[in-house]
């Protein structure tokens, strides 16, 4: 994509909190980052993880816990969540990467269920209640993220918003860079023809493992960001529903496209929000939309659009 499109998107991101409820925009950014990290694995490496909620949720819990109990500043809490998810990713990856296809997905699911079980039983996670009212604290001990600014008749959490937005941009850039790096080239090769990559002398398991760890780490960043934004870390964050949801977001938006996962995440989170009155029917409605979309746009929204415009988006 050309630089001017990126500039447009950046400006939209800067204006968004003045137009839409900022916490909602931040929530979108957290899930968009989650889906982008997931896409790095499924879309660009061809690995289907069915356990990504474990990274998202455990980072949310850890960041929430550190901010609540240890009084850590938000940037350190997010860093801790990222590292923790990365280590967990290394563990999952080491155990799962030798398996192919559905077996890989099943092992990641099983491991994620263990994490779910721990979250359910452990003390520091708050069990069924989760961690609530997580304080947002001061960024670097200086900038109060609770501060709101009155603009018109609205009060906006702009400090928090721009912190989250910049973090999102940095993480998004890192994913983009990874895809377009020498490492990303090898991932592409592995996805295109794994046997050939092996026969050229690439130890593909190591490449997959690194991709897995990067994806898990950034998923952790997203989870910790979410804990900060919604001031909540709960069992939903580590549940298999969430693992499924991120697959749905990625496929809906467009697997292996740069913008697709974000578009998918925005669609799904917005629908959940708009349809929340429908109660448990939300799942059914989103499921139905998903089925229709998959039948109508097999490449996802962005994938189909890219095909029409003959561009890679």
């Amino acid at each position: 994509m050309k630089a001017r499109y990126w500039v447009c998107l950046f400006i939209i991101g800067c204006l968004a909190p003045f137009l839409i409820y900022p916490v909602f925009v931040m929530q979108l950014l957290c899930f968009a980052l989650f889906a982008c990290s997931f896409n790095l694995l499924l879309g660009y490496t061809g690995l289907l993880s069915f356990g990504h909620a474990a990274f998202f949720g455990s980072a949310a819990y850890l960041a929430g816990y550190l901010m609540t109990v240890a009084g850590l500043t938000p940037e350190l809490a997010i860093l801790a969540g990222t590292v923790c998810a990365g280590l967990l990713g290394y563990l999952f990856g080491t155990l799962a990467i030798k398996r192919q296809g559905i077996y890989f997905a099943m092992i990641t699911l099983a491991l994620a269920q263990i994490v779910y079980f721990i979250a359910l039983k452990a003390d520091f996670t708050g069990g069924e209640d989760g961690l609530q009212d997580i304080p947002r604290g001061k960024l670097f001990g200086l900038i109060n993220l609770e501060t709101t600014y009155r603009i018109g008749h609205k009060s906006l959490e702009l400090n928090l918003y721009f912190f989250i937005f910049i973090l999102f941009c940095l993480a998004f850039w890192l994913i983009h860079r990874t895809i377009h790096s020498p490492f990303g080239q090898v991932l592409k090769g592995i996805r295109e023809n794994e046997q050939r990559a092996v026969s050229l002398g690439y130890r593909v398991e190591r490449f997959k493992l690194l991709a897995f760890v990067i994806s898990a780490s950034l998923t952790g960043t997203a989870g910790a960001m979410k804990a900060l934004v919604l001031q909540l870390a709960s069992l939903t964050d580590v549940s298999w529903h969430t693992s499924g949801e991120v697959i749905l977001m990625t496929l809906l938006g467009g697997l292996g496209t740069v913008l697709g996962p974000s578009v998918g995440a925005i669609t799904v989170v917005t629908l959940q929000e708009k349809l929340s009155a429908a109660g448990s029917w939300v799942t059914v409605i989103i499921g139905a939309i998903f089925v229709v979309c998959v039948l109508a746009f097999r490449r996802g929204f962005v994938g189909e659009l890219g095909r029409l415009l003959k561009k890679s988006l």
Partner: protein
């Protein structure tokens, strides 16, 4: 004493009771072009898969440069300088031919884990990639989509990609299969050039190609070594004649 780059002892591969390769003792002399021939299903591709560790042998050992490599992994074998091509053309279909070759060249730069670097750092490899493309007559296709190229060109690209790694031993599985006469001539010439400073072990059905290129020929039948020698020796062997009369590849 002949210098063997590759040597197998009692190499055997059984698939659920069916013996695809049986007690094979194969010796490949350094610097030669060695052909492995035999009717369909004789076990030639299986031998390649064993040599490159895509399959684990049931029994027997493989020595490369005097080192036992029987227990190594496929990527390790490649790092030792043994690069193979596949019977079913192995290219990266979604990449351009230049990127295909670049991916091979990139492996030797050692910077392949650098996810924080721009892929522009790979531009330095383009000159070398373009030379290889030129050598196989693909200059005009450098930036097309590999998957959409004609079959013969994919095979040529595959050989160029293999050569990009400057293998010490190159294993080619039916490089001219499914090609028209012109392409066959081009690939034959290419293999001859490639053999100038390396060893080549090739599976080949086209006996014309075998007779022009190979110094030594091993004939396999039902997984067992049937005959070995120069083209003249092998082609006069009554057992070989019989095996070949009975198959479609006379």
């Amino acid at each position: 004493m002949p210098d063997h780059i590759l040597e197998t002892r009692n190499l055997t591969k059984e698939f659920k009771g069916f013996t695809a390769v049986n007690d094979l003792n194969l010796q490949v002399e350094r610097g030669s072009i060695h052909a492995l021939i035999g009717p369909n299903g004789a076990g030639k591709t299986t031998v390649f898969n064993l040599l490159t560790k895509f399959l684990q042998p049931s029994r027997g050992t493989i020595q490369y440069n005097g080192i036992d490599i029987t227990r190594e992994k496929p990527a390790d074998i490649a790092l030792r300088g043994v690069i193979r091509s596949f019977q079913i053309s192995a290219v990266f279909p979604g990449l351009t031919p230049r990127e295909n070759i670049r991916l091979a060249l990139q492996r030797r730069t050692g910077g392949s884990f650098r996810f924080w670097r721009s892929e522009r750092t790979l531009l330095a490899l383009h000159d070398q990639a373009d030379q290889l493309l030129a050598a196989v007559g693909l200059t005009a296709y450098a930036d097309t989509v590999t998957g959409e190229m004609a079959y013969g060109r994919k095979r040529a690209l595959e050989i160029a990609t293999t050569l990009a790694l400057e293998p010490e031993l190159m294993l080619l599985d039916e490089p001219t299969q499914g090609m028209g006469a012109e392409d066959v001539a081009q690939i034959t010439e290419l293999i001859r050039q490639a053999a100038a400073d390396r060893t080549i072990l090739m599976v080949e059905h086209n006996l014309n190609v075998v007779s022009t290129l190979a110094q030594r020929i091993t004939v396999l039948q039902r997984g067992t070594l049937l005959a070995e020698g120069s083209y003249d020796e092998v082609s006069r062997n009554p057992q070989v004649l019989e095996a070949y009369m009975g198959s479609t590849h006379a």
